[in-house]
């Protein structure tokens, strides 16, 4: 079990945004988090990453509480939004910086990035631009690649398919599937039901902060989700 969430609650001025009684994630799971805007997906991610203090409850990562600890940073990497990028660096500088935090040498980083050559589609490396000058889709690619570069055991991505072109979406899906065979635990949120049901082994549906459904993906899952959202 890599993550265990108990009695987790987050309230803002009396309004409950996240309210999860119990949730466990076993190592190697690929979990898709779906739900309309305001369901509490991003807030949940932020609490798992110790960016927001829960109002009550606890999140355990490898049986040790996340809040106030650093141990989880060794094996957790994430990309939620552009706020995770250092936008005045070139992509290379950013990758090298992130790599250096994990004691990777420049050559290791560059070698590792080669496997993303087709994911980048020639648009990221050696462009002599700062990250802030890239389009949103390309910034997204940089953030995802930087998260993968850290060779995580737990990967958290918030709407990774958003702003990506179709080719890259397909390549990302393929890559996420290989991560599954490498036993990387992955948590992604998405508004694209086709993609999540394709990639994920388990789907969690949230609404107004609560978990409504927790499904193991099978042939009927997509239809079930579509039925739920078209109500």
């Amino acid at each position: 079990m890599i993550l265990e969430i108990t009695h987790l609650k987050k309230t803002y001025a009396g309004r409950t945004v996240v309210d999860i009684e119990h949730l466990t994630v076993s190592a190697g799971d690929t979990i898709g988090l779906v739900g309309n805007n305001g369901a509490g997906k991003t807030t949940l991610f932020r609490m798992i990453l110790d960016l927001i203090r829960p109002s009550s409850g606890e999140i355990l990562s490898r049986s040790k509480t996340v809040a106030g600890n650093d141990h989880w940073k060794d094996y957790t990497s994430s990309y939620l939004d552009e706020g995770f990028l250092i936008d005045y660096l070139t992509p290379q500088e950013y990758f090298v910086f992130i790599g250096s935090l994990h004691h990777m040498h420049v050559t290791d980083v560059m070698e590792h990035l080669q496997q993303y050559e087709d994911f980048f589609n020639g648009e990221i490396l050696n462009k002599d631009k700062y990250i802030r000058d890239y389009s949103k889709g390309n910034q997204n690619k940089i953030g995802i690649a930087a998260a993968l570069l850290q060779k995580p055991a737990l990967l958290i991505l918030d709407e990774p398919f958003a702003n990506l072109d179709p080719t890259t979406q397909i390549r990302l899906k393929a890559h996420l599937k290989t991560l599954r065979s490498d036993h990387v635990t992955t948590l992604i949120s998405s508004h694209d039901l086709n993609h999540v049901t394709d990639v994920c082994t388990r789907i969690i549906l949230m609404e107004k902060g609560e978990i409504i459904k927790d499904l193991h993906t099978d042939r009927n899952t997509l239809a079930e989700l579509e039925a739920y959202f078209s109500e």
Binding site: R46, L49, D50, L51, I52, R53, G68, D70, K73, D74, T76, S78, L80, D81, E82, G83, F84, L85, I86, D87, Y88, L89, T90, Q92, E93, F97, I98, S100, L101, H102, D128, K129, Y130, D133, Q150
Partner: protein
């Protein structure tokens, strides 16, 4: 106004002084505009794709540019005097020409400053050359080689004899307006209105490698300063303050060993990056703060990196201002004491107050008259920081002698450096306590 002139410069011809003032005013006005007047270009971006003729957009920009305090001030300063005095002495025609000339100068300055800013947008060279220009003019005036005042006087005296000459100013203003107008019309594209895209290349600071993770973070921060407008301008401002010594270091005080005022200058000169840049610490990184928190950075090295950065800045500044040592060796003593205080004490105070700063800062905006991120804490911070040296200095200087007092300031600084590990732990605890609040504050971007 004539009362003021008579009081300040008794026995001089009022109109002569007035004439001398005009060009002087507009020279300063021009530099002030370069620094402070906002370019209204971006205001037009939301309308570019709508069905509005280009001509209209350009006119909108031009008209909008006229609405600034710089264009109101001269009307209040010069017009009443002209109407009362010039018409009395020279008749209404000359008075009208005077008004027209002054008005034209104002319009000329308005559009010249904007044009200048447009063609050299994002160019630090322009600011520097403007500064050098200002210093040269001041020097020439001081050495009586060239005087704007007398030039101005001659020009306006000529107008009083030959009123039609005032039309030259009108033509100048009209010309400037049209140059600006044509430039805008030809360059009304978002791409061209914004800063030019330079080739961005990666850079490295290998000398920081020996500091490990803290070194990598300090290198990151150096890039932040060099590659973003507001932090760069803030640090540049700090460099201007190294001229404080010219104002505060006085021969007489040095002879009397009266270091109080000089100590203030020294503390400010050696520590101004710490104060000016440090007051927004963490806020500079507000855009990527979430990313920093989740990445594998220990807060300890994060804080250490800040110390490293501020120490390097103070060291560099101290080396530069050591040139004042040519005036007297006593200055070197004062500055060295101030330097030790800056790196030992100021840094801790600044970083502590930084943990109470929750305001997002947009790095791409200019630094002058920009109050984003300025809160009560950042202003409060400078009080203990600038006051402490005097609390140490004054009683000891009175009881024994000023040199001992300087020594005590230096000792406080050394004590701060020696106990740095304690302060790092203290700051880490303060940071951890408030990190959620800081992070959520930085997420609110307004």
């Amino acid at each position: 106004m004539e009362m003021l002139i008579e009081k300040l410069l008794p026995g001089k011809n009022v109109i002569l002084v007035f004439n001398g003032m005009i060009l002087y005013y507009f020279a300063i006005d021009f530099l002030a505009r370069l620094q402070l007047q906002e370019l209204p270009t971006l205001a037009v971006v939301p309308y570019l794709h709508l069905n509005i003729p280009k001509r209209k957009l350009v006119t909108f920009l031009n008209v909008r540019a006229a609405f600034t305090a710089f264009n109101v001030l001269p009307l209040f300063i010069f017009f009443p005097f002209c109407i009362l005095h010039i018409s009395e002495s020279y008749g209404p025609l000359v008075c009208i020409m005077y008004l027209l000339s002054i008005f034209s100068l104002m319009v000329f300055n308005n559009y010249a400053a904007l044009y200048f800013k447009r063609i050299t947008a994002e160019n630090t060279k322009a600011v520097l050359s403007g500064l050098i220009f200002l210093i040269t003019i001041a020097l020439l005036e001081y050495l009586n080689l060239f005087s704007i005042a007398s030039l101005s006087d001659r020009i306006f005296e000529y107008i009083s004899i030959q009123p039609a000459a005032g039309l030259v100013f009108v033509c100048m203003a009209a010309l400037m307006f049209f140059i600006n107008d044509r430039y805008l019309k030809g360059n009304l594209y978002i791409e061209e209105l914004q800063s030019d895209v330079q080739k961005r290349s990666a850079s490295d600071y290998p000398f920081l490698d020996r500091f490990g993770e803290a070194g990598a973070l300090a290198a990151l921060e150096i890039k932040l300063i060099l590659r973003n407008k507001r932090p760069r301008a803030t640090v540049m401002k700090g460099l201007i303050f190294i001229f404080y010594g010219l104002l505060f270091y006085k021969q007489k005080m040095l002879e009397n060993n009266d270091f109080t005022m000089m100590l203030f200058a020294a503390v400010f000169m050696t520590g101004n990056v710490t104060i000016l840049y440090g007051q927004f610490m963490f806020g500079w990184q507000s855009a990527e703060f979430d990313g920093l928190l989740v990445s594998k950075i220990s807060i300890k090295s994060f804080i250490k990196a800040k110390f490293l950065m501020l120490t390097m800045a103070s060291t560099a500044l101290t080396l530069i201002v050591s040139l004042y040592g040519l005036i007297s060796w006593k200055i070197l003593l004062i500055q060295f004491a101030a330097y030790l205080y800056s790196i030992g004490v100021s840094t801790v105070i600044v970083l502590y107050f930084a943990t109470k700063n929750y305001k997002y800062i947009d790095l791409s905006k200019g630094a002058s008259l920009n109050w984003q991120g300025v809160g009560a804490t950042s202003l409060l911070m400078s009080i203990p920081l600038l006051l402490t040296p005097f609390i140490i200095y004054t009683p000891i200087a009175l009881l024994s002698n000023p040199y001992w007092a300087l020594g005590c300031i230096a000792l406080t600084g050394i004590a701060g450096c020696l106990t740095r590990n304690f302060w790092i732990d203290f700051l880490v605890a303060a940071f951890d306590k408030r990190k959620y609040k800081i992070a959520s504050g930085f997420r609110e971007r307004s």
